[in-house]
Symmetry: C2
Subunit: 420 residues, 2 copies
């Protein structure tokens, strides 16, 4: 840990910010007049909202341990360095879809960034049943821009390798994913939890489900070795802040160069969790049916808009070292290349579906759960939602390569919902 | 370039070596009595044999340009750093299959290593028709040990990522492969050459062969993004020095963390080049038939022994982060895990066959050819050999996933040989 590091609080933060001319000017007035509120409800960090007479900022500071667990689980402050690097890279490709950065302090592991208002965490909106008509297009744009443009399809090999190396040190954050997503839900692990006793049977079944475990380990190996693009690494609906008009992706501290499908799968998997959680949030049976329908439609829209945008970017690109366009200038070459792009997207769809299923399982049988389900007070009702989500997730992992489109996933999700 | 660097010659090398106590003692006597011979016949470096009254060493020094082309093609001296790092790592896993290192000087880009005698470059032995009964076992052992033990199957994720980062800077050597192996043979490129006019037609065909080019580009993307294990990166029969009893792998300056099948494919592809070159080296038609048979048998032996050893290492391993053994302790789990290992090896076989075919093509239509074929004086005869090799190679790239074993590859190779 840097010797300059100290965890800040509402008393000490204004003094630090007042030393930063651009932040001071942005907030306006004297530091003594600023209000500070600690609002971090995530698993890892301190998050402050600081308001001055002219403006407001958010300050995110890493803690040297996992906030969710306590100081028995140390975690490097350097994750803030990777988060800042990822935010900066994302801003180059999708500037309107990430918060602006006012300041970064490596010693304090602290990022001062745009205060987003009246944005809410998307997960909370999904619980309340709010429709976000622009979300699918925005998140599709974010993923297409950040994944395509940081891949070897878009940049020379040397640039790609430089990026791989730049993020290779973010191992401890990756290890959280490796352990909590790909490993612990499939073994007896102290940190696992689930809605007991209702799900004891299915939790035990999953730990003995050899075909499922094999598929998950195959995906873990892919997560460890497939350096496709800079991924956000934790792109669930709690990492999205939005209004009906505006969408921002936050918190890329898990970023590294990994498989693209992990990000797209995170979005799809978390939409499906919201879908299965609706029974816990409706006042009468079926009240949320239109909203359920809307959510499922978003899974299809996200994939459709993402893959269309990704292919548009690929079609326009001339700078990548893989599939150099000059190799395919003949009419037959253009046809073959177009077919290859479709094959590429089909494989990415398969990856996406599998990673989505894996992310759903870990949110129900592993350490970190989601508010969509956790906020359902009645454990029997919650467990019914969770069991359906698990059933769907298992199918997605085992049969990922049998789905030929996201519409088939939505169809299967609907069928599982109907089964009791 | 380091300011301390200077290309050495037989006049200046003894002075440098005499400053190294262990090398001086190993050679014995006074520096003035040492003989120095420059023997480099490779494409990139200076290679000296230095002999003293008590011992001899080989000194390999990188030049700041590609020796084959001249100083118009600069190349970083740092490749010597990666070569030394790879040699050291290989020595940890296969100590008897690489030359011992006496000294490494980063400033001079110079490695002093074991003088191997009476070893010959394997390619020269294959041209003369020499059988090496232990080669298949040795190269299989080398590949299994180095590939398995530097993969995420064998080491924790953090160690794997550290290795990825450690080699990520070796981009310019990787770029040689990316350009000369995966790109140039499929486009009009100044550096391409082939046995003209005999192969003008097939060279043009390959440049227009859209399905072939697509497959090769798919493999190029894999080469750019698949960080499976530390690979040698240039494992052809010119990188093997051997006697009937002893085998050593040299020259890993192209090493980086890439797809395992690229190394195994290099061995298989170069054996097949030797196979098709035999017609150029026999005194009468069919004289080399037994030797042809021996070569093909080696392709099968290499794969069989490699995959057996790789699986043995995997079975014993407990330290990798992917497929942790504790997840598969039940009898059904062991069965499922064993089947998954077979699936893994089948995919590696496919990769191997495809990369082998790609390596064969580049040796006939690209810049760097092999002595197996180049030493055939009669261009018409050489072109007949090369055309068969190209025909086989194309099939291997296009149908890589249809071969279920290396015996089927050998069978196909034999069938192509019979066709005129």
């Amino acid at each position: 840990m840097s010797t300059a590091y100290r965890a800040l609080n509402d008393g000490t933060l204004p003094g630090v910010l007042s030393e930063l001319p651009n932040v001071r000017d942005f907030l306006g007035g004297a530091a003594e007049t600023w209000t500070v509120e600690e609002v971090g409800d995530g698993n890892l960090n301190l998050v402050f909202i600081v308001k001055g007479p002219q403006g407001a900022v958010v300050v995110k500071q890493a803690l040297p341990y996992v906030r969710l667990v306590g100081d028995s689980w140390p975690l490097p402050l350097e994750r803030s360095y990777y988060e800042h690097m990822a935010l900066s890279e994302q801003a180059r490709h999708a500037p309107r879809l990430v918060p602006k950065i006012h300041h970064y302090d490596r010693d304090l592991a602290l990022i001062v960034m745009e205060y987003l208002t009246p944005h809410v965490i998307m997960r909370k909106g999904l619980i309340r049943g709010v429709e976000y008509p622009l979300f699918a297009g925005h998140i599709a744009e974010f993923m297409a821009q950040t994944l395509f443009n940081t891949s070897a399809l878009a940049v020379p090999a040397a640039v790609h390798k430089q990026r791989i190396a730049a993020f290779a040190g973010n191992t401890e954050l990756c290890k959280i994913t490796e352990d909590l997503v790909f490993t612990d839900p499939y073994r007896v692990a102290k940190l696992n939890r689930w809605t007991t006793p209702y799900l004891d049977d299915i939790a035990a079944q999953f730990r003995r489900d050899e075909p499922l475990k094999i598929k998950v380990q195959e995906r873990k190996l892919q997560f460890l070795t497939s350096a496709e693009a800079m991924i956000h690494g934790d792109l669930h609906t709690g990492s999205v802040m939005l209004t009906p008009q505006d969408t921002r992706v936050i918190d890329p501290e898990f970023a590294f160069v990994g498989p693209m499908g992990f990000d797209v799968g995170a979005v799809i998997g978390n939409l499906l969790i919201a879908y299965y959680a609706q029974a816990g949030h409706e006042e009468r049976f079926g009240q949320r049916n239109p909203y359920r329908h809307w959510i499922l439609l978003q899974t299809e829209n996200v994939w459709r808009l993402f893959s269309r945008r990704f292919l548009e970017l690929w079609d326009k690109s001339r700078s990548g070292d893989a599939y150099m366009p000059e190799l395919f200038t003949e009419p037959e070459g253009a046809v073959a290349f177009a077919a290859e792009k479709q094959r590429f997207m089909r494989k990415l769809l398969t990856d996406t579906i599998s990673f989505a299923g894996i992310k759903m399982i870990r949110r129900i049988l592993g350490l970190a759960h989601t508010e969509d389900l956790e906020s359902i007070k009645d454990p029997a009702l919650r467990a019914r939602c969770e069991r359906k989500a698990l059933t769907m997730a298992r199918r997605m992992v085992l049969d990922a390569d049998r789905f030929t489109g996201m519409n088939e996933v939505a169809h299967a999700a609907r069928a599982v919902l109907g089964v009791n």
